[in-house]
């Protein structure tokens, strides 16, 4: 979740999704997930962050439903 590499990925997401505004935060109605670590348990990760899977786009890319703050 952290580190500059993750931040760079966020910047790329923001570039790809423009003009939709993407924030570097999971507390929104729509969340883009990028799970790149094969060992990550997706279900556990989603529960932990109160996220619900909407669409699995493949290659670890997920469209998720989040809980707005």
């Amino acid at each position: 979740m952290g580190g500059y590499a993750a931040y760079e990925k966020y910047l790329i997401v923001r570039y790809v999704l423009a003009p939709v505004l993407a924030e570097n935060d999971a507390h929104y109605a729509l969340v883009v997930g990028n799970i790149t670590q094969p060992k990550t348990d997706s279900q556990q990760f989603l529960c932990q962050h109160s996220l619900t899977l909407m669409t699995d786009l493949g290659d670890g890319l997920l469209l998720l439903k989040g809980t707005p703050r």
């Binding site: 760079e8 910047l11 790329i12 003009p19």
Partner: protein
């Protein structure tokens, strides 16, 4: 795509070439100084069309057909008006700006050799540029997070294009002006698609127009050999090509700084219609402010430098007359920049916004910051450009500086402007709230590249031409032979 691409490029380019013909130097509006006018026209076309696109977004909204029709009408009407004015004034009354140097035997081989060197350097630089652009098709990180991101908002955003200037889009530079993003977005809008070749093409145009402008201006102001040498030095500056391909705005800003200074130098030398060159200088300075915030700093600097050079030599009236014409080119663009800053993207750059008055004074009084920034500037000056300033200084020692005073005011103005710009950048490093080390690591190279083409231009304006050096050397040899014969007899 090809027809749309041509439709997006040709009308503003034709209009700009006509404008460069009307305002530019030389006895004939089109034939004289062709390469110089083409290079100026490239910058003018991108500057003017970015302004018309921004105007259309404000007035007409994001309608592709509306943009094409309204811009087409505007450009054709303006081109017609310019063409009519040009036809009425067939001659500028300018003589050629420089006299061909007396041919000497060394010119026969030196110019072709320099020409071959320039062609090899150009081919290498173009190839490198293409490969670098292919490696990062969306540009480096700042292009991705500032320039091309904003271009996407403008081109894709419909009614939401203004969102990219709100606090919602977390970016450190919300108020960066729009010349580059609007140029890219305009082409994307014409094409109806977002090919990555467009930002790369814009970057390529600016990079090679900068080199072409420096070389062609020196080719006319000094000599062909001098222009070719300057071209080879700039083409052989690896960071200029690499940074150009990164799609940042520093190379475009460097183009407009150079174009302003070149227009002033040509103005000093012209002996016929001169006001156009002052208006051109104003327009180019305005576009520098429309490219990056550093351009907003350049505008008062260039005006101040003019005051420091012109007033002691020719008085206040001469300065006032110059500035009136300079403002004709500058003010329309500056009004657009201020409108953008006040109504579209209000806010300050972080370097100003994150300052506290007390801390700024503390920073100014901290001499360790001056030492750290000074060392970094000197190190950069010695290394920059591979071979950099050191090799240029060695060249100066070998051939010496020019002897005639023809361009003294132009050299002074260029030198004072660049000196003040460097001093200004240095002070930014002192007062930065982000730490001197951070600023050195992230900004120094980029700031240098903004000024480097103008530094090379100034250097070759000042130093003796290879033709002069060769002629002198040949003259000295003849003198030695004659002296030997006299001694023998």
């Amino acid at each position: 795509m090809n027809a749309s691409l041509l439709l997006s490029i040709l009308p503003p380019l034709t209009l700009s070439f006509l404008l460069a013909g009307l305002w530019g130097p030389g006895p004939h509006p089109f034939r004289s100084y062709f390469l110089l006018k083409v290079c100026l026209a490239v910058g003018l076309a991108l500057g003017i069309s970015s302004c018309t696109y921004f105007g259309w977004l404000l007035i007409g909204g994001p309608s592709r057909m509306g943009l094409i029709v309204s811009e087409g009408t505007l450009f054709i009407a303006a081109a017609g008006l310019l063409f009519y004015t040009l036809k009425k004034r067939t001659s500028h009354g300018d003589s050629e700006l420089f006299q061909e140097s007396t041919p000497n035997p060394s010119d026969r081989w030196m110019l072709p050799v320099l020409f071959v060197c320039a062609i090899v350097a150009l081919t290498t630089a173009l190839t490198r540029f293409v490969f670098l652009s292919l490696a990062v098709p969306h540009g480096d990180i700042d292009a991705l997070t500032i320039w091309n991101l904003r271009a996407r908002f403008l081109a894709r955003g419909d009614e939401q294009w203004l969102d990219s200037f709100t606090g919602l889009l977390t970016t450190r530079v919300p108020d960066y002006p729009l010349l580059l993003p609007a140029s890219i977005a305009r082409w994307w809008t014409y094409i109806g698609d977002e090919p990555t070749v467009i930002p790369a093409l814009v970057a390529m145009l600016f990079t090679f127009a900068t080199i072409g402008l420096a070389a062609s201006a020196l080719g006319r102001l000094r000599s062909r050999g001098q222009g070719l040498l300057a071209g080879v030095v700039l083409l052989g500056t690896p960071f200029l090509i690499r940074h150009g391909a990164s799609q940042y705005a520093d190379v475009p800003l460097g183009f407009f700084i150079l174009a302003t200074l070149v227009a002033f130098c040509l103005y000093e030398r012209a002996d016929g219609y001169r006001d156009g060159l002052l208006a051109m200088a104003g327009l180019m300075a305005g576009f520098s402010a429309w490219t990056k915030n550093e351009g907003l700093f350049f505008v008062p600097i260039v005006i101040l430098a003019r005051l420091l050079v012109v007033v002691p030599a020719r008085g206040w009236l001469s300065y006032w007359n110059e500035m009136r014409v300079f403002a004709v080119g500058l003010l329309p663009v500056l009004l657009i920049v201020f409108f953008f800053k006040i109504h579209v993207a209000p806010g300050l750059s972080p370097i100003l916004a994150e300052q506290g008055s007390t801390t700024m004074i503390e920073r100014l009084a901290d001499f360790s910051r001056y030492a750290e920034a000074g060392q970094a500037f000197l190190r950069k000056a010695a290394r920059f450009g591979h071979p950099g300033l050191v090799v240029l200084l060695v060249y100066l020692l070998l051939v010496g500086c020019r002897k005639n005073d023809t361009d003294r005011p132009a050299i002074r103005h260029t030198a004072v402007t660049l000196g003040l710009m460097l001093a200004g950048y240095f002070m930014v490093f002192i007062v930065t709230p982000h730490g001197v080390r951070y600023q050195i690591e992230t900004a120094l190279d980029r700031l240098w590249i903004q000024l480097w083409p103008s530094v090379v231009f100034l250097f070759f304006l000042f130093v003796k031409t290879p033709e002069e050096a060769m002629a002198e050397s040949a003259g000295r040899s003849k003198f030695d032979v004659r002296k030997f014969e006299v001694d023998q007899s």
